[in-house]
């Protein structure tokens, strides 16, 4: 990616982030009723005095015209001030930063799980196309894609947590034992998807003319597979993996909730349940930003790995 192109992409990204920040801000407008009153009361049925509501409105600028509200929110947000979480009684930024490690750890472990299974199985299924091994792997990958992840999580928790007692069922903190089941749940879902992609990518590449050429020159199948086919087939999958990673770093809301894993997804669900508006805005903004930044990094790394894209000085 040339420098000019990079600058253009960065410019586009900043524009998109502005749009996303606007969407995040507008989310609160969807809520029925008086936002300030709900912020104080949370989900509880308590009396809130009008004076309290007015004071909060003035503090947050909610008594001003809509567009001014957005500008002042954005102004505070870029300085890292996302307001206070009413649920946690702490600054929103602290809450988000505290949830981050759990999400990053889970994203890393489930990605590792996925790679360990999807790559060998997908490659081998492609090489042994239409054998019993291929059918078996495809069958498993199909089933893995059709199981709702929350049900898979619950069943794993029931079997390995309750019946066999191998893993704790309460969760709540980041530890190796607590991490195993959420990792497997996310990992199986991801691996099922990627086995398919890897297999199709390898098959497509194996049908190319250069493979026939290499065979006719007497190169060994192993050499062709490892040195020629794999690099070509797997490169496009980097983009896909980037999207998955970006999505994982936003927190796996459903799986984190099933296992009470204290990451961003779990925090987001809590925040929405208790209508902790400022926390929701910040998390949504964070998740979309993460996703876009990872996307950009993937595009840059792509240019690095694929010399054809590097040379084109656009």
């Amino acid at each position: 990616m040339g420098r000019k192109n990079l600058v253009r992409r960065l410019g586009q990204m900043i524009l998109a982030l502005l749009g996303i920040s606007f969407i995040s801000f507008c989310l609160v407008m969807l809520a029925p009723g008086d936002v300030a009153r709900q912020m104080i009361a949370g989900n509880q049925e308590i009396m809130v005095s009008q004076a309290e509501v007015d004071a909060l409105k003035a503090e947050l600028g909610l008594d001003q015209p809509f567009f001014f509200q957005y500008i002042s929110w954005l102004g505070r947000a870029v300085q890292g001030n996302f307001g206070n979480s009413f649920m946690m009684k702490r600054p929103v930024l602290d809450v988000v930063l505290a949830s981050l490690p759990a999400t990053v750890v889970l994203a890393a472990s489930s990605s590792a799980f996925m790679l360990i299974f999807a790559l060998p199985l997908g490659i081998y299924a492609a090489v042994k196309q239409n054998t019993w091994f291929d059918y078996l792997v495809r069958g498993f990958s199909f089933i893995g894609m059709s199981v709702p992840n929350f049900w898979m999580g619950l069943m794993l928790l029931w079997i390995f947590g309750l019946q066999l007692g191998w893993f704790p069922i309460l969760g709540g903190e980041v530890s190796l034992e607590n991490m195993a089941l959420p990792t497997v749940t996310l990992g199986i879902a991801m691996a099922s998807k990627y086995i398919r992609q890897v297999r199709v990518a390898i098959l497509e590449e194996l049908n190319q003319d250069y493979v026939t050429g290499a065979r006719s020159l007497g190169m060994s199948e192993t050499y062709i597979l490892w040195r020629e086919v794999l690099p070509n087939a797997l490169l496009p999958l980097v983009t896909l993996f980037g999207l998955s990673l970006g999505s994982l770093l936003g927190g796996a809301a459903v799986v984190e909730t099933v296992f009470s894993w204290p990451g961003l997804g779990y925090t987001a669900v809590q925040a929405i349940t208790y209508r902790d508006f400022q926390l929701i805005q910040a998390i949504v903004l964070w998740i979309a930003s993460m996703y876009m930044i990872i996307n950009l990094l993937v595009d840059i790394s792509y240019a690095y790995f694929d010399p054809r894209l590097r040379k084109v000085g656009r």
């Binding site: 049900w151 809301a253 987001a268 998740i287």
Partner: protein
Amino acid sequence: MDTKKNKFLSNKGFVLFSILAVVIVLIAAFAPVLAGGIDPTAGNLADAIMAPDAKHLFGTDKMGRDIYARVLYGARISLASTFVLVLAVFVIGTALGVLAGYFGGWVDAVIMRIADMMIAFPGLVLAIAVAGMLGASMRNAIIAIALVTWPKYARMARSLVLKVRHTDYVYAAIVTGSGTWHMLWKYMLPNTITTLVITAATDIGGMMMELAALSFLGFGAQPPTPEWGSMLNEGRDFMQSAPWLMVYPGLAIFITVVIFNMLGDNLRDILDPREE
């Protein structure tokens, strides 16, 4: 016409899974009969948390409601809401995509920039936030998922329209006086429809899971509505004492999703021979 008919009927997988899908639809339609007249929302606290037996095939929940009846009625809610969702996304996405591709210029810019922004939100997150903000109900869950899914269809429809937009026959049609509406309806839409129908068919299972996931998190259907995701949410507190509360609704989602995913895959094989 004959060859087309044969193409569908000669695909054994398609025939098998069509029949199974029809069976699921029939189960939904005849839920009251199959449930033997048991009300899925009415419970008897004296019967709370009973293990499966002859009277309650799948057991009962904490309110004494019959799980078997609830799972059967759940098919109604799942199927109806999924079809509404898929239809909404299909119609909105295709319409906006075709308009963007055909008119280009600022129409294209506005529609596609909005689409780009929605796509920047990964997975379910935005849907969860929208559903949560609007208030928990199945209708709002459908709105939320539709809101984050239409860009996929719009992008596809737009790129398909762009493939033919600047061909000679399209210009010829315009020059010979075809109206805009006629151009959109007779020339642009038919070019997109096969691909988008395949996409919609393969997406049914996934959207069903997303709706169930929202209900599971508490942002979709609310108890006592017999919805599979929300039943699982209620059941998870009784994992130890009443595992049947989790097993049957989960199996119901899984089986239904498998059937519709297989149906979608087979339909794609028939209509789009390029794949595999």
